[in-house]
């Protein structure tokens, strides 16, 4: 096993479990979104099949890291979920913007009120992390010509940047009506910069700053979870009218992705 163990688990086991957990949360939000649109297309069930397989395979591979067929299954499930995420992005783009009345002329409107454009890519990203974890568990030292640590940091950079971008668009839609809605533009944005810096020119000073920023991003995730829960309660009937407000309110689990991706970053810099 590569790296240092923490609570009995090695880094790639942690990354596999984190990718499973983040996929589960993504699917919970996707279920709310697709249910709200009435599952108009059968393809809207696709993320639940590919994501469900990924979750099972990732947990199994983390629990039994030396079983070769589980590792192969995780890679297969990972690629399937990557494909599902990319195709989902295409669908969200086509049906959420291009085919809507006004199309690209109303781009900002549809970015805010249409299907969330980057949500399917988040599934692709958690799947990519699972694939890297599978390769790491199999003892492969390089991914795409890069050694595994910078490869993971690049994934964390891109994933956090995407999460910041999607949160900014949706918080802009909400007119930043609460100062806490600026939180994704604070530590997570700086963590994106620090992560990219760590890939290009790693140093002990940047590592220290990056660690602090990742922990702050982890906390921003929990602040977001709490504030989104509060967001439901601000609507008529609050959580007493649970299902309706769950569908109409902010995405319940989306902020947890900040905590999840930052946790992957922390595992990468401290255990690998």
């Amino acid at each position: 096993m590569t790296g240092t163990s923490f609570i009995g688990l090695y880094p790639f086991q942690w990354i596999a479990l984190l990718s499973a957990l983040m996929t589960l949360l993504l699917l919970a939000d996707a279920l709310a979104g697709h249910y709200r649109s009435g599952f108009a297309f059968r393809v809207q069930y696709a993320p639940f099949i590919s994501g469900g397989l990924l979750i099972i395979a990732a947990v199994a591979a983390a629990v039994a890291p030396n079983v070769t067929w589980l590792n192969t299954t995780l890679r297969g499930a990972g690629w399937l979920a990557v494909a599902s995420g990319l195709i989902g992005f295409g669908f969200h783009h086509y049906y959420g913007i291009a085919k809507k009345p006004g199309g690209y002329k109303w781009l900002l409107h549809y970015l805010m009120y249409g299907a969330p454009q980057l949500a399917p890519l988040a599934l692709a990203m958690t799947s990519a992390l699972a694939i890297v974890a599978a390769r790491g568990l199999a003892g492969v030292a390089r991914v795409g010509g890069l050694s595994i640590r910078p490869a993971l940091l690049i994934l964390v950079t891109v994933a956090l940047a995407g999460a910041v971008l999607q949160a900014t668009i949706l918080h802009y839609r909400g007119a930043f009506n609460n100062p806490a809605m600026y939180a994704p533009l604070t530590a997570p944005l700086l963590a994106v910069v620090a992560s990219a810096w760590m890939v290009v020119a790693p140093s002990s000073l940047i590592l220290f700053a990056f660690t602090i920023l990742l922990w702050l991003t982890f906390l921003v995730g929990f602040v977001g979870l709490g504030m989104h829960l509060r967001g439901y309660d601000r609507q008529m009937g609050g959580l007493y009218v649970f299902l309706f407000n769950l569908l109409e309110g902010p995405p319940a689990w989306a902020p947890a992705l900040f905590a999840g991706f930052s946790a992957v970053g922390l595992v990468t810099v401290h255990l690998l």
Binding site: F6, I7, W215, F218, L219, G221, F222, V223, L225, G226, M227, L229, R230, D233, R234, G238, L239, Y240, F242, A259
Partner: protein, 199 residues
């Protein structure tokens, strides 16, 4: 007239007793005490272990913190369940509820972060430091504010407190509530009328 058991009537059989079991009792107030006690105990044990250099106390501080992080999952989930069945109308109480819900998850994030910090200290064979103790005290402070908000919700606004209570067994289920006036101040005609109503 036989009083129904739900209103204080005597329970005479096991079946009657079983029929009274309703799993609708709020569980959040039960679990919340584990969170409060374990986190506070962790701070106390760690502080004592740090000042008196006692390894056993420090170990107790670590285990109670891990216990708190695990038990708080139950506290959060039961709190969420409670909030979904609390028909609190818009106003002061609802503001308290919102703040309580938002701060709960912030507190849990802090708790998870400090638990991981604590485990990493334990794995590297290091003892707790001043910085760690201050951080844990901040977490405990956030927990105190959170507990205060929850306490206000229950004791000031009565969220999830049943409005009815079982009456004393000597009162008839259908009889009106007793008047809080002395018998001397009641006129004979009013007394006669009252007796008529009671009969």
């Amino acid at each position: 007239m036989k009083r129904p058991t739900e209103r204080g009537g005597t329970v005479t059989s096991l079946r009657q007793a079983m029929s009274l079991v309703k799993m609708g009792a709020p569980m959040h107030p039960i679990f919340v005490h584990f969170t409060i006690a374990l986190t506070s105990a962790s701070l106390a044990f760690d502080a004592l272990g740090f000042f008196f250099d006692k390894q056993s106390l420090t170990a107790a501080g670590g285990w109670t913190l891990v216990g708190s992080a695990l038990m708080t999952l139950a506290t959060l989930s039961t709190g969420l369940t409670s909030s979904t069945r609390a028909p609190v109308e818009e106003g002061e109480a609802r503001s308290f509820l919102r703040a309580h819900m938002a701060l709960g998850l912030v507190f849990y994030g802090l708790l998870v972060a400090i638990t991981f910090w604590r485990i990493s200290l334990w794995q590297s064979g290091q003892s707790v430091s001043w910085v760690y103790l201050v951080a844990l005290a901040v977490v405990a402070l956030v927990m105190t504010v959170q507990g205060y908000l929850g306490g206000e919700l229950v004791y000031r606004y009565g969220v999830e407190v049943e409005q009815a209570y079982r009456e004393l067994p000597d009162r008839d289920a259908e009889s009106p509530a007793p008047q809080l006036i002395s018998s001397k101040s009641v006129s004979p005609s009013a007394r006669t009328k009252k007796q008529g109503e009671a009969s």
